[in-house]
């Protein structure tokens, strides 16, 4: 299976994951400050800042775009419960 890495900058941990993994699945277990609320892309709690590898994440859905806008998200922000890692490396931290 294709591998990718996610680095959680707030705790300085890099995790090797299979492509397709959602960031929230890992951030929660690894103890990063990117925490969850609803897991359904509705509440905006799991907003994160993507400092590297933006293009290695799936594109935001219409719903996610809307939530990001409603929460005045910056242009490097994504929802950890929606973004999946496609490959390569991604670096994130809590927004």
């Amino acid at each position: 299976m294709a591998k990718a890495t996610i680095t959680f900058e707030d705790i300085n941990v890099t995790v090797t994951v299979p492509a397709g993994t959602r960031v929230i699945e890992i951030s929660e277990k690894v103890g990063s400050g990117i925490t969850y609320g609803c897991r359904e892309g509705d509440c905006g709690t799991c907003m994160m800042k993507v400092s590297e590898g933006w293009n290695n994440l799936t594109e935001p859905s219409v719903l996610e775009d809307k939530i990001l806008r409603e929460n005045y998200a910056g242009k490097h922000n994504r929802l950890a419960c929606q973004a999946q890692v496609l490959g390569g490396s991604v670096s994130v931290r809590p927004a």
Binding site: I11, N12, T21, E28, K29, V30, G31, S32, P94
Partner: protein, 432 residues
């Protein structure tokens, strides 16, 4: 109007003037004793709604809880015709303020809804209707009513994501929503007439606003520069006598409670424990002393048996890390720990470092349960807690030392980078 006249007018379902152009059209709920399940009130509450009349139309600011709709409409009808209503401003969509909204929208077909950006999803959930027309507003946006106008302030998370305030500059009136409100029911309505509501005001802040302290500070930055002749909150007395005092009080309440005792660059780590046979206590001491050895860490140790959990709230609000030790009794952490954890729901704990440890007899679930709760409170919990069966051996005490050091290093950002595989997380659950 005299206090006695106001009481009479309120009872007769009249609208009460704040000024010739602004009226209170809310409702009193003297029988209420607990609000949203979690909040107590000794003498009920009020749902304040207001009407603003400009030369080119009327705006209604907020409504009331549904059961009180009749009061609201009776008062409203005295000061406005439904087809004059051009704007309905919703500063907050919680049902205590939007209960009469569906009916008002039907009765006032010309009215446009004004809500904050973050209120959109809630509005749809509330009205269960597609193709809703509404306008989202942000700081600086205005509604023009001719010789009167309302200007919006974006003040989110006070205490819901959707909350906002509206300012009527021509009269220096701030419609503040739940902010500066309290659950206090008094038919004399105005703070220079009502009974002493200071306790209710403080209690309301402590339970409703305190968890969002950072957002309170941001809202105050927007509110403080405004000339304030009157604050019209959504609950409790209308603040026309020295309104700025209440803004000042919020500023005090939102400032750190304890004087800063530590030096710049230092970080505080608090170890709380409770121990039945002294085993968890020995672990606590080991973790505390090891964390203390890391330069920059100011560690403190507290036995929960010797303290009332509520008194720790101020301390926890300022702490950078909290470490909780509990034995496992009947498969659970013990009550003082849960009490401490539940007191954290009124404090902003997001992003602080959290950890757990404890000694146990045969099962030892407490540590994982505490860690889960800490994550639920949005702390980061990157280190798997130490669990020891009964009396810690010298090796296990060393393990506690290593745990304390790792926590200290993590807190100071000095833990070296680690690379792990996802499968490690599945077995150990964490990155330790």
């Amino acid at each position: 109007m005299s206090a006695a006249r106001i009481v009479q007018a309120v009872a007769q379902r009249e609208a009460i003037p704040l000024s010739p152009r602004v009226h209170w059209v809310g409702a009193l709920d003297p029988g209420l004793r607990s609000f949203d399940i979690i909040l107590k009130t000794a003498n009920g509450t009020s749902y304040n709604a207001y009407v603003v009349r400009g030369s080119h139309g009327v705006a209604v600011v907020d409504t009331v809880k549904r059961e009180f709709s009749a009061d609201f409409f009776a008062r409203l009808e005295q000061v406005a015709e439904y087809d004059e209503i051009k704007a309905i401003v919703l500063n907050h969509l919680e049902p205590d303020h939007t209960g009469a909204l569906p009916e008002l929208m039907e009765r006032a077909p010309n009215a446009q809804l004004y809500i904050s950006n973050k209120a959109q999803m809630m509005l749809k959930a509330l009205l269960k209707r597609e193709n809703l027309a509404f306008t989202t507003v942000d700081t600086g946006d205005r509604i023009d009513l001719g010789d009167r106008s309302l200007r919006f302030l974006h003040t989110p998370y006070l205490h819901w994501p959707d909350t906002q305030c509206a300012y009527l500059a021509e009269e220096q009136i701030l419609f503040s929503g739940d902010v500066f409100g309290c659950h206090f029911c008094d038919a004399r309505l105005f703070n220079d007439f009502t009974g002493d509501f200071r306790f209710s005001f403080e209690y309301y802040y402590a339970h409703i606003m305190r968890p969002f302290r950072d957002f309170v500070v941001r809202a105050l930055d927007l509110i403080e520069p405004l000339p304030l002749g009157l604050i019209a909150p959504a609950h409790g007395p209308i603040l026309r006598d020295r309104p700025s005092d209440y803004v000042k009080r919020y500023r005090e309440l939102a400032s750190p409670r304890l004087k800063r005792e530590i030096h710049p660059g230092e970080k505080t780590l608090l170890v709380f424990y409770i121990s039945s046979y002294g085993n968890t206590a020995r672990m606590a001491e080991a973790i505390h002393s090891a964390a203390q050895e890391i330069s920059g860490v100011r560690a403190s140790l507290y036995d929960l048996e010797g303290g009332d959990t509520e008194t720790f709230a101020d301390l926890l609000e300022e702490a950078d890390a909290i470490v909780l030790g509990s034995p496992t009794i009947n498969g659970d952490a013990v009550k003082p720990i849960w009490d401490l954890l539940s007191s954290l729901t009124v404090i902003d704990m997001k992003g602080k470092l959290g950890a757990a440890f404890g000694s146990y007899g045969w099962s030892g679930e407490a540590v994982r349960m505490i860690e889960d709760r800490l994550r639920g409170l949005k702390l980061r919990v990157p280190l798997q807690g130490v669990r020891v069966k009964l009396i810690p051996t010298p090796e296990e005490i060393l393990q506690c030392h290593a745990f304390g050091r790792a926590l200290g290093e993590e807190l100071m950002g000095r833990r070296e980078a680690r690379v792990i595989d996802m499968s490690d997380l599945l077995t150990s659950q964490y990155s330790a």
